[in-house]
Amino acid sequence: MKEYKIYIGLEVHVELSTQSKLFCGCKTKFGAAPNTQTCPVCLGLPGVLPVINRKAVEYTIITALALNSRINKNCRFARKNYYYPDLPKNYQISQYEEPLASGGWVEIKANGKTKKIGIERIHLEEDAGKLIHGEIKEDKDFSFVDYNRAGIPLMEIVSRPEINSPEEAYEYLVNLRQIVRYLGVSDCNMEEGSLRCDANISLGEENRMGTKTELKNMNSFKEIREGLRAEIKRQYELLSRGEKVIQETRVWDPKKKKTFSMRGKEEAHDYRYFPEPDLPPLFIDKSWVERLKAIIPELPQERFNRFIHQYGLPEYDAGVLTESKDIADYFEECVKFFPKPKMVSNWVMGDFMRLVKKEDMTKIKISPASTADLLSEVEKGTLSTTMAKEVMEEMFKTGKGASQIIEERGLKQISDEESLDKVADEVVKENPKAVKDWQKGKSQAIKFLVGQLMRKTKGKANPQLANKLIEKKLKNLSG
């Protein structure tokens, strides 16, 4: 069986989270009623002039810097001409020969080693409208267009074909998305289309790529991995039978788990690009780039390393905590108030993140100081971990502080030896059978008695202390 080398290149489109569109002041909010966020500019009406949104340019530069790309001092926009109803102007304002940035890389882990996936270019363009295909019976011969999305700034990041497996592609996307989210330039939400990805795939030899196909319509990172696997398998089978791969665009069908040829859309790949006459060129000087460099936050990889060194956390913890910037920020804030990093880490990674998964981080009502309070109660022994969990859930719901909830619900753990001693006496008196069992050597009996004590105190007794006291009583009785 012949071995082929897999070559994958990814084109990632990221909608930038600016308030307004790239060339006009329309909103970019997702989910608005159809055609309520348009104006003469983004509808391409005659006589209008686009003006570039500075923030969109800066977001692209920031991303390029974070991806180690070279910012092109002179760059400009170009018209990409094609006729399709999602484009109101019949051209898309994009960039062609002079993109904002070239080169750079994203680091991934491949077979336990670090690998750099090269970036070809990063450019800025406007998004197109959204087409809805006739789902209604009498309208099956029509499509419907919503231009709310038309003109939203779209950053395109094109990788070199240096990705050599579907797993590497997945890893590349996860790391790229993490960086972009850290930068705060996009929420990268695939369900809402603010991150989209097309792939180029070919099977070749060590230093020679084969004929590539372009793959579209993958709606999650998992689908991208699946789609790539299916397309590789298809190409492999063709080549093994001595047949040829045809250069074409294919679509992934997530239900049939196969890729299908997108017949007929090939012909018009003649975009007749030319410099956009309505937009003066950009000149990105050093001082502007330096200013932007200064506001780039610490990136995931650096933060991961710092968490290990500064807080002495295991790699696993550092990885989980730095996965999202919000969680990492939260952890660090908590540690400021409660300087026991590993304890904070366990707490944040466990119960806290379980609750966060259900809710948006921005809606979280528990301040880091409050979490720190809760943890110090646990440390002092006033609160068991089980009770702490309950308290946190309440903090989540109500936004009340830890001590307030503990007070209100009378949750304080009983660590007072005198009062527990009395309860232990009662328990031993009321359960003579268990005491006998213990005396006969059934060590399990002690667990039963401690359980009885916990029941009498409604779970509030300090478990270690309860255990100690019961054991003492038993020994006294037998001694």
Binding site: T18, Q19, S20, C24, G25, C26, K27, A33, P34, N35, T36, Q37, T38, C39, P40, L43, L45, V51, I52, N53, R54, K55, A56, V57, R76, N81, Y82, Y83, Y84, P85, L131, I132, H133, G134, D139, K140, D141, F142, S143, F144, V145, D146, Y147, M262, G264, K265, A268, D270, R272, F274, P275, P277, L279, P280, P281, L282, F283
Partner: protein, 98 residues
């Protein structure tokens, strides 16, 4: 006779890219007209432009920006008021291969 600059196949190709339906008479007519226009413009080729960078803008300005601020948008009724065909709040177009 001088070599033709444009032929009828190119005219058909460009018409197709622009989604224009031309009759055979129109194809002929536009080929002639475009030929005349292009020959006229070709006069510019006589100039030596070897060391001159291509001009895309006549004004020496760059970095014209707007801040990321919201301005007015049209209502969907206004946005759709010139649409030849619509349904509810959508522009209605002939079906595109999905």
């Amino acid at each position: 006779m001088k070599k033709k600059i444009i032929d009828i196949d190119q005219v058909r190709y460009i018409a197709h890219l622009a989604r224009l339906d031309l009759s055979p008479q129109e194809e002929e007519k536009f080929t002639h007209q475009l030929e005349r226009i292009l020959s006229y413009v070709e006069k510019l080729q006589e100039l030596d432009t070897k060391d001159i960078p291509p001009t895309s803008h006549v004004l020496a300005v760059n970095n014209v920006f707007r801040e990321d601020e919201l301005s007015f948008s049209l209502s969907s009724q206004e946005a759709l008021s010139n649409a030849p065909s619509r349904k509810d709040s959508y522009f209605k177009v002939p079906k595109i291969v999905g």
